[in-house]
Amino acid sequence: MKLTIKLAWRNLWRNKKRTLVTISSVLFAVLLAILFFSMEQGSYDRMIDTMVRYSTGYIQIQDVYYEDEPSIDNTLLFGEEIHTLLDKHQDAISHYVPRLQYFSLIASENTTRGGMVTGIEPEREVKFNDLREDMVAGDFLEKGDGGVLMAEGLSDIMNLGVGDTLVLLGQGFHGTTAAGKYPVKGIIDLKIPELNNNVIYMSLEAAQWFFGAENRLTALIIMPENPGQTQQLANLFTGELDSQWYNVLTWEELLEDLLTLMKFDIAGTMVLMMILYLVIAFGLFGTILMMMLERQKEFGLLFSLGMKRSLLARVCMLESLFISAIGVIAGIVLAIPVVTWFTYNPIPLTGDMAGAIEDFGFEPVLPFSSDPSVFYSQGLLVMALSVLIGLFPVYKVYRLKITDVKH
């Protein structure tokens, strides 16, 4: 093994310039790929994090029929069974957020439109998403509050402000009529246009009273102490709750559409990366091919001396691996400080792009991810490519006829 390593390593430096150029091409490809993937992964991570923190949470417990038919009739009873579960696993749960959310008509003196009434426990909700930060006028809700918070867009449409009164009219639990008159206590900017033009927040107790759904929730959002343990915790809950009544969903199931979209996007990026790697592969292949062709007579000598084909094939494969490994390691070493810098100092966006991103409730920056997988996935890909390329000289070594190359 020592001999093969020694030969491969020294062969690499027979033509220093050529080897360095090839290594540099691998290096820059890896560096570019890492930066690109880090940026993409960073954006996805940020998007998922925002969605999980502001919308779905890591785990949701719902009524068994709610996922297929999100109706007020398919709400779950926030009763003893759930409380027992929460108590039992309190060490694994950071906090939980109960919500009751359903459609209702919202009316002011001159306007009526549909909207989403969301009943929340204010103190728990702020732990989850710090909604209070988004207040633009009035005061935030308190436990058992009789007033409502209006999303800013909706308040503009309805021409309602703090201190005004609105009327809600909708369908309650099991076909009852839900009706009520509520003072607007505050205005909140929800950033995402779809939410900002539709949502009304009220205290959970008020919402349960309004919909006639005492002690009922559309979803119980659970944030685990360790988000990495989400799936395990969800599995525990599924095992312990009566599946006839409850459905336990993780954020991956709740954001399935978003994740599918991301996978499509990643596939597009992969195609671009493949083109980049194809260029690199040809460069590497060219070097390996030249190294092969200029040493045919030397191979003849080695065979004559009794060096087995398997040993020489190993030398050739190692040469390809060495070039790639040096390029990959150098690329990763260079990428680490750059990615780390941008992870903590994301690139700020300006102009229309920043505005568009802000409209969706995200910070107008290009975030980077320094997850180890960003680095090693590119390294492994290039190494796999070099193994593939290294197979060519191996094939040639096994095909060479000694008498053809001896002189």
Binding site: R14, S304, K308
Partner: protein
């Protein structure tokens, strides 16, 4: 004296597109231990092909090559690799050394493939380099050595593993007179001291003059086999 190599009815036919060419034709020869033999003949007479056949680098079309009572003509390729490694030393006209290895590493190379103990290997390699007058070039790579010095390292390598015989394919062809004589002196000395059988293919009269046996090939067949007292 012990017979090291014996060929019986040895033939090598190359199938050219026009007509088959008999590069080696019905060669029956025996080489005894310690012989210093020159295979001579005009270009295309089959010298190199003959060396390739007895060196196990090529397979005969017909006939046999028996080395130390082993018929190598029917061996599989992997067996031939092992056989060459253990029994035969080679010196070629050019491309003789591995450019990325130093002189001492080149000399040790065959022993390394034979998995000899490191200390024994190093000792023998240095000893051989001393014998060929290159003890001051131990850690020098081939590109820093002259053509003659490179051939001397190649001879040291061929003999270091103490093979049954050494095949040298026109080893002096690229050397100036002084280097050629120097190389031949060393080979003659080692032939006598280590009792190693040496077989040269050559055009070079300087080599022929040193040989104790001269075999002349014409059109692949032996036309003369002469012994000289030297």
């Amino acid at each position: 004296m012990k017979t090291v190599i014996k060929t019986t009815n040895l033939e090598k036919v190359y199938n050219s597109s026009v007509a088959p060419v008999k590069a080696v034709n019905q060669v029956n020869l025996e080489f005894k231990e310690g012989e210093f033999t020159a295979i001579v003949g005009p270009s295309g007479s089959g010298k190199t092909t003959f060396l390739n056949l007895i060196g196990g680098l090529d397979k005969p079309t017909r006939g046999n090559v028996i080395i130390d009572d082993t018929d190598i003509s029917s061996m599989k390729e992997s067996q031939l690799f092992d056989f060459r490694l253990k029994h035969i030393g080679f010196v070629f006209q050019a491309y003789n050394l591995i450019p990325v290895l130093t002189a001492v590493e080149n000399v040790s190379f065959v022993m390394l493939l034979q998995n000899r103990p490191k200390e024994e290997m190093e000792k023998r390699a240095k000893e051989m380099l001393e014998q060929v007058g290159l003890s001051d070039k131990i850690n020098v790579r081939p590109n820093k050595l002259s053509g003659g010095q490179q051939q001397r390292v190649a001879v040291a390598r061929a003999l270091a593993s103490k093979p049954d015989f050494v095949l040298a394919d026109e080893p002096t062809a690229n050397l100036d007179t002084e280097s050629a004589f120097n190389l031949l002196d060393i080979m003659s000395k080692l032939n006598k001291e280590e009792n190693i059988t040496l077989i040269f293919s050559t055009h070079d009269q300087r080599v022929i003059d040193r040989a104790r046996r001269v075999i002349t090939l014409v059109d692949g067949a032996v036309s003369k086999d002469e012994y000289f007292d030297k």
